[in-house]
Symmetry: none
Subunit: 257 residues, 2 copies
Amino acid sequence: MPELTPGQYEIVYNMLSLAIACMFASFVFFVLVRNEIAERYRGSIVASALVVFIAGYHYFRIFNSWDAAYHLSDTGSYVPTGIPFNHAYRYVDWILTVPLLMVELVLVLGLPRNETASLLFKLVIASFFMIALGYPGEVDKASMSVFSNRGLWGFLSTIFFTYILITLIVQIRAAMARTSPQIGVLLRNTGLLTLFTWGFYPIAFMGPFYGLTGGSAEVFLQSGYSLADIFAKCGYGLMIYNICVLRTEEAATLKAR
Amino acid sequence: MPELTPGQYEIVYNMLSLAIACMFASFVFFVLVRNEIAERYRGSIVASALVVFIAGYHYFRIFNSWDAAYHLSDTGSYVPTGIPFNHAYRYVDWILTVPLLMVELVLVLGLPRNETASLLFKLVIASFFMIALGYPGEVDKASMSVFSNRGLWGFLSTIFFTYILITLIVQIRAAMARTSPQIGVLLRNTGLLTLFTWGFYPIAFMGPFYGLTGGSAEVFLQSGYSLADIFAKCGYGLMIYNICVLRTEEAATLKAR
């Protein structure tokens, strides 16, 4: 780990703490509101609650790992203690939470039950490979060019990343055509949020290829991952919650007729 | 951090612990009573629960940071350990909780749904700027006069602070005209509580401008912030809860007619 100024160290420290607060507060929120949602869509809220619970746990671990990896030197800068910062927490988190993020969205698309199951099966398998293939590249800190181990693993992972995003876009467009304009807008915005937040991960992964190394790079990566995770988990969960509220109202109106 | 007498150190230590107890006890209260409240106003109680949960987490962190920042010397006074006390926790807390405090109040004003959404949008944006612009001033410990960086950031932050308070007063007065005298009194008192508790923050922020530095100043600030937070979060949440109870009774009476 590179040496850091107090300002650099504290940005990451506080971003990690912010992520813990956001994840667990979102968990409380999803637990408190789940019964307002029609049974058919409640699975989405339960999945949202699990995602932020798992992420809250991992951010707690990442925070402690960051805290243990550095100590304040006599000269006033933060120097590595030698205890390694554990990069694996993020990947372990993603391998559990990304399939659940797929569940959240697919359950509000309003597909027939058998189509829901087969779509989810494909997306869950693809997300497993996307994350598992990315990890060997992430930990290969020696790779500094695209034509390296990091580049190769990144490329393999991106195949599944692209497959997932294209599938989601196709499914969201189809769902928009089937539903009210109000729900359609929310579905489209959820798709856009996914594109923008997920887009950060490959940019961060490729960091070393365009010379992003040292203290400021580490700060950029750790804060960027944390912010992207807050939007991709808490923000995304809130969008899905809003879709569930509208779907529940829609179902109540249909019943009342 | 300045050297402190045991008495000074313990006042802050115990105030921080009091805040943890108040926040988590209020959290339990709001979770336990939320189902008594009519669905239309239940969002207020959920927001209250989230506010005190997030604040409870941050007070836990602030307490640990205070504990780590000092140790008892052989001469019997508390001297800084060199581990910096993290001032950022309060700001991270406010950036999450202040928008939620707006949600609590706006949902009980009894506005039509579209007006609620647009009012909340403006207030949430304003509270983001109020807090984000205050932070650079807060950490600038070198500024000792109004005409300094601290003064400038404070001024910029105050523009949004004033906007929020004026908007809330206008909205509360309008809501008082629409509702029963009983609910009106509670709305007015909630407004007054907001004015008095929020008023403490700029006084504390300007501390260095009127020579409030050293040990007793730190004790005044930390205890003051903690007390203001207890009233502005737990006390305010209880006022909102009372309004929700009356609103629920009102809705039941209207239905029964």
